[in-house]
Symmetry: C2
Subunit: 600 residues, 2 copies
């Protein structure tokens, strides 16, 4: 850690010098890029470069005499291990928000810089209020001061963009554009500016390779209400095949032309739809300066993308079968090898990843596999490294959270297994997490219900004994796109987004004992019409589970399960056995038969 | 209904003529007064006067060629019975909001009037947007056009304001003002403008009698950060006793002086706290015009008022015992008399009300008793009248929702009882409502949890079979104040207000079969620290039930109850028996012993 610390000190010292040059007293470094997107290319990993913290969400603020990193519950342990605590104060956002912290440390007259490409207008508004409260000033930076000192910054990625076949997408880009254009016309909007790469990928039926683990083509787009569109993207990423696929109604322009296009929209005073929660403040600034009439509203691709069509759902089901086969091969191998006491977290991770890679239509992992034993399992987004790598020792819990990007769908699964003999407390905790998982998997709910309303069902068995977990219960998942996707989610956070049929979400309650063990049980589930509709003729929904892999029977305390819960486990395991046995080798088949034996 | 319709036609015709005189194309009539308060004096019942609809929430819009009344799920049946459907189109706000409806019917150039004393700035902002969307104009009216044609408008109420003893309030007004003044100082605020009568009643430890069933003193107040205050109130309502009670730091001014006071706040450019969700737009307009620096924020009384202190909770517990005695006397009488087939809804209501009135410290009902049999029970906020009055016939369900205002606390209880033999379906529905009630009564939850998160627990047993209810599960309740009180609630609606210890809410799931029967089971519950704190040392809360009256055992289908639910019913009934037997006459004692016999 010593060399790391020195490095960090050097970088922060460099940034502070740079800030003085730019006339700033501080700078805010979010985990984001100009696409306001969770998945960043290496060239945009400014937060990791300056702090050492590699989580998927967080914000740093560097002032001349203070520096802090703000993370959510998933990262409270990790951040303390990764950042130099002599330089950065780690803070949990539920204890103090970035904005409240700024109001407490900034002094009147202080100038805080921000990069308008890395924040939404809403974030900027809040930052400005936080500064105003203490009479400090918020200053947009034309040049990002981190970039100015980041000598060895990796190049911007330029992966080829490829067509995504309608055989997987289920609907042609023409049809998608036609439907959205009609909506724009209905709302008397001329053009929608799209800056979210997965929206653009969905709308144009294209995929890219600019970031790890998610097939995003980084770029911008404009959708006109006459069904035509312009794609702004690095020209090196465009092939003739792609041009053919896009067809004559989609103009391909270089990314440098985006600014001129915004100016033109403004110059002709057109009504432009722009998403204040997903689009960089800089885009709004440019449109406003040019004189456009901005209509703030949700990116029109977000909701139709979230509600998967039957082809996407069928594809995702198939992807989950192959993914389940890979996971079962891994779990079967683990059951044989782990007791020998020679497998490490990294060994297990490598084996699981190799099983996935062999599957048909496999393209990538959907995120770096979390392979965590014992106390490492309590670090919610743990990633094993040479330094942290642990042996899978007897009498510990092993947590593995992983997923694949297949051409026909995206998977995400977590299983927790006992290495050796679990304690009765571990079994009790595991069983309560499982009860929450089952409660969510089996709920029937009326149209209009949000994920906030359902979140509690997954927590209640833990709440009963004073336990909880500090992360959401479920995130949306794309179809060969982001493994995290909005707008739907299942979490404590107030939401106004109703769950709709075709939405895929994860069902992943957990429990974490810091320094001891972690438990998480995750399946993906899709919203479907409830089998028996409500007597009042309203619309009723339920979930269908997509993931196909057994839960560890050794960790279930049957005395804590109701007979209905036991029936659910047995029915699920029977489905797993029947689905997976034809897809795997003999040793896995044999393990699977044991692993899916009915309870009781 | 014929004469009523003619009356309505005449009033709407009069209003339309008045609108033309004022140069308006339409006018919006909310259910509110200048205090933005659910409980209106007769002089402010403009919505009821113009439409005939008497519910506690709703909005009418009268245009020259359209008129509509918007109500929530509680009132969808009632509104159709009360308004002249040839004139007013009844709309459910969950199908179309007032604002969306306005955007669909207003034409470019239309002028829609509103009374700035009857809307919050937030409502005005939304109305203005709705108008702007279709290029219509929103016009504040100096004089309310309804008042101009309302010849026989009742006079503004002038009930004497009386001190509320610290023996019941638990904290002196001096102490309350001291604490709030410190918070104002911390936020560098000079003065808070209070326009919510129950906030003022709480802060100054006073009660009034200006509206039915809630001891509100209608008036305004300003709280200075030096702990002094001014109360603006009709001078006829103020006695020497009250002046003595208020003490030298509280100036009493006439209500007419409020405008001048706002002007003065502006003239001295003071920082003034004003609640945009609870204060009339007119107050904001006046402050702005005068040049005040308005800090938008929650009325500082709201949260401390909601979190009852130990004296208030103890008082409320005592009030519930006496209230429970009254309810048990009624239920015992009902068990004897109803089978004779001669009792009507109004008879039952009169008997119940008379039992309550005999209790010590009784001051008023907390709302008009809902006494509803058979199909009337499905009208959520039913009120029996000579026209609708039904006999309590054999083999029907009878629903009674009632409460009392006692000097030491406010009560609200709903019971549903079988007259004769219930059907097995009625028993199944009742039992599912009861299961939801028990789920909420017994939940343990971590600090930070909102009512939205808990609401689902009360609905899930109904959701399982495709049933639901179209109202919230719980509302906040005051202490000898409003029977509906914010900011806490338990409902589907997204909320950011965490439940805190001392908050009282109702627990009232229900089920309604239109045209057939209604079921609602309501107790008041208070947030208390959980008996066993969570192992992680966080704060854990639970509910303690305050209401003391048995649930109808004849309506419970034991095959649908878990053993834990049966245990809860038995323990609750044991508590009821032990609490109430010493307080009631011999026949009620004997009935109570039967009614609280353990299940199984």
């Amino acid at each position: 850690m010593t060399s790391q610390s020195t490095e960090c000190e050097r970088r922060v010292r460099g940034l502070r010098a740079q800030l003085i040059q730019q006339g700033l007293d501080g700078f805010i470094i979010p985990h984001s890029d100009e696409y306001q997107n969770e998945y960043l290319p290496a060239s945009a990993e400014r937060l990791a470069w300056i702090t050492g913290f590699t989580g998927s969400a967080g914000t740093a603020v560097v002032l001349q005499d203070h520096a802090a990193v703000f993370v959510d519950g998933r990262y409270v342990l990790q951040v303390r291990q990764q950042v130099d605590l002599r330089i950065f104060e780690p803070r949990h956002v539920s204890e103090v928000t970035v904005n409240d912290w700024l109001s407490s440390v900034l002094k009147p007259g202080d100038k805080l810089g921000y990069d308008p490409w890395l924040h939404t207008p809403k974030e900027v508004r809040q930052l400005r209020q936080a500064c105003a409260r203490v009479k400090a000033e918020l200053i947009p930076c034309r040049a990002n001061p981190v970039d100015a000192i980041w000598i060895d910054r990796p190049p911007v990625p330029r992966a080829l963009v490829v067509p995504y076949s309608t055989a997987y997408a289920g609907k042609s880009s023409e049809d998608k554009r036609k439907e959205l254009a009609q909506k724009l016309k209905d709302d008397r909007i001329d053009v929608a500016v799209l800056t979210t790469p997965d929206s653009i990928a969905w709308l144009l039926n294209i995929r890219g390779g600019d970031v790890s683990h998610t097939p995003l083509p980084l770029g911008f787009a404009c959708l006109e209400n006459d069904e035509s569109a312009t794609l702004f993207i690095e020209s090196q990423k465009v092939s003739e095949t792609l041009r053919d696929h896009l067809g004559p109604s989609v103009v391909v322009a270089s990314i440098e032309e985006f600014g001129a296009a915004l100016k033109k929209i403004g110059g002709t005073r057109r009504r432009v739809l722009c998403d204040p929660q997903r689009t960089a403040s800089s885009v709004f600034d440019q449109l406003e300066q040019a004189g456009a009439e901005i209509i703030e509203g949700e990116d029109p691709c977000v909701l139709p993308k979230a509600c998967k069509n039957p082809v996407e759902i069928a594809g995702t089901r198939e992807a989950h079968k192959r993914d389940g086969a890979a996971v079962c091969e891994f779990l079967s191998w683990l059951a044989l090898e782990a007791p020998k006491g020679k497998i490490t977290e990294l060994d297990a991770q490598a084996y699981l990843d190799s099983r996935r890679q062999r599957q048909a239509l496999w393209k990538d992992l959907s995120f770096p596999t979390i392979s965590a034993c014992g106390a490492n399992g309590a670090i919610v987004h743990y990633r094993a490294t040479a330094e942290t790598n642990r042996l899978l020792e007897p009498n510990t819990l092993y947590l593995v959270d992983s997923g694949g990007q297949y051409l026909d769908g995206t998977t995400d699964i977590t299983r927790t297994v006992a290495i050796g003999t679990p304690t009765s407390e571990q079994r009790a905790c595991y069983t309560r997490v499982l009860k929450g998982h089952i409660a969510l998997a089996t709920v029937t709910f009326p149209k209009g219900t949000t994920g906030t309303q359902l979140d509690t069902l997954a927590r209640q068995p833990l709440w009963e004994v004073g336990l909880d977990y500090d992360h959401g219960t479920g995130h949306g998942v794309g179809c060969y796109l982001g493994v995290h996707e909005g707008p739907q989610r299942i979490s404590k956070t107030p939401s106004t987004v109703a769950l709709e049929t075709g939405m895929i979400v994860s069902n992943e309650p957990g429990y974490y004992r810091a320094g001891a063990f972690g438990i998480r049980l995750e399946n993906l589930i899709v919203v479907v019409p409830a089998r028996s509709s409500g007597v009042e003729g309203r619309n009723w929904f339920a979930f269908e589970t997509l993931t196909v892999a057994p839960f560890d029977r050794n960790l279930m305390d049957l005395s804590l399960l109701t007979s209905r819960e036991i029936d659910w486990v047995n029915a699920y395991h029977e489905m797993v056995r029947e689905t997976i046995v034809p897809l795997v080798d003999l040793p896995t088949q044999s393990w699977l038969r044991d692993a899916t034996e009915p309870l009781r």
